[in-house]
Amino acid sequence: MNKSLLALAVSALIPGYAAAAGPIDGDIYGKINLSLESIELNQGGVDDDTNELQSNASRIGVKGKTEISEDLYVIYKMEWEVQVDDGDSDLTSRNRYLGLAGGFGSLIAGQHDTPHKLAQNKVDLFNDLAGDIKNLLDSENRAKNIAMYSSPSVSGFGLTAAWIASEEDSEDDGSSIAVKYDNEGLYLSAAFESDVEAEGTDSVRLVAQYNINALTVGALWEENDVDGLEKQDAMHLSLAYKIDKVTLKTQYTVSEIAGSKAVSSVDGDEATMLSLGADYKLGKKTKAFAFYTTMENDEGGSAVYEKDVFGVGLEHKF
């Protein structure tokens, strides 16, 4: 990585920034993901069909570390979302933190996806696209004012725990914790979150994913417990099969968790989402992709919601 380029890039992102004394020990990284999509939406009986160019969570970030003593590092990261399609709401904040890392694990503070959210690992094969599970699941939180400890991995076992400051006297602070086992192609995780999505909301998440040669199978179950409402749950299954440079993938999600566009808070309201797609690896950091996603609710008291999306796109990581 070119350190002079890093200094120039940081100066461009942060007006008035002056290079600090001492070595610059960081990297620039990111990815650009663009897709051209045909969207057919029926909401409440009203059709809304459009063709759109979407920037799917494209981002740029800087990260680095400085060694301050043997096996003790100061670490940092700052990420911004980049709207490559239209520049609207550009450079919105994503994960960012300052922390310490060493033999004890790592301790960070800032703004970050919670352990509960990241427990999903890679079971969402259409992450950041129209078929992202966040469309039907509610507790996908990037928390502000978070402090998080992540343990070392010992024989594949690891623990991450976070405290989220509400910064309000009348509100409880939030907490999020996840334990995982990740070894030899098997990933298992259990996560619990409280008072993060909202005051009085608890969420439990169980995740499993297994790689068997070219085949990857994944599953996620989540249950939300909101004060005053009956418990609501969601189930997600995913399947991927790799043939040389092509990865075929599909996933199915069914959810009664209120809070998404498709699922209301009416008891019994439920929505389903099915996605089919394929990735073609053009290079080590570049892929072309195509997908089809269909999402609908079952009219359990809420208005009709049906959405079909067909898209083709390109992603490059740097």
Partner: protein, 137 residues
């Protein structure tokens, strides 16, 4: 110690070893909870002691076409790289002795090691040290 005993020791150490890290692209690792893996285990960039008074030219990674950066270099000190070959069966001990011999000859007053890495070329491994002579009395 028997070979089986050595293998058991290595297996116990494996979770803590940077060599066991499965390193993805930085943008993907940035979306995980394994901060140590992204920042330490999978980061091959030179490591610096935090000392604003010690600013040296940043050497490009091995195999890179980039030129060294134009950072200030304290008079009488510069970062350099030395290497010694070794084989998997023979182990790195001979390479470490060879590197220390080079460093003693080059920096008789001592040195500060900045980075260490291993590359494999044509079936033989090479151990690299990037270091700076210590000019302090």
């Amino acid at each position: 110690m028997s070979r089986i005993g050595i293998l058991w020791c290595l297996a116990l150490l494996a979770p803590w070893s940077a060599l066991a890290a499965d390193c993805e692209s930085v943008v993907d690792m940035a979306d995980s909870l394994d901060f140590h893996k992204m920042h330490v285990e999978c980061d091959q960039e030179p490591q610096f002691q935090y000392d604003p008074s010690q600013r040296e030219a940043v050497q490009p990674p091995p195999g890179s076409d980039a030129k060294p950066s134009a950072a200030l270099v304290p008079e009488g000190s510069s970062v350099f790289t030395v290497e010694e070959p070794f084989t998997a069966t023979g182990g790195p001990e001979s390479a470490i002795r060879g590197l220390f011999a080079q460093l003693i000859e080059r920096c008789p007053n001592g040195w500060v090691k900045h980075d260490e890495w291993v590359k494999r070329r044509q079936g033989v491994y090479a151990l690299y040290y990037r270091a700076r002579c210590d000019s302090s009395p």
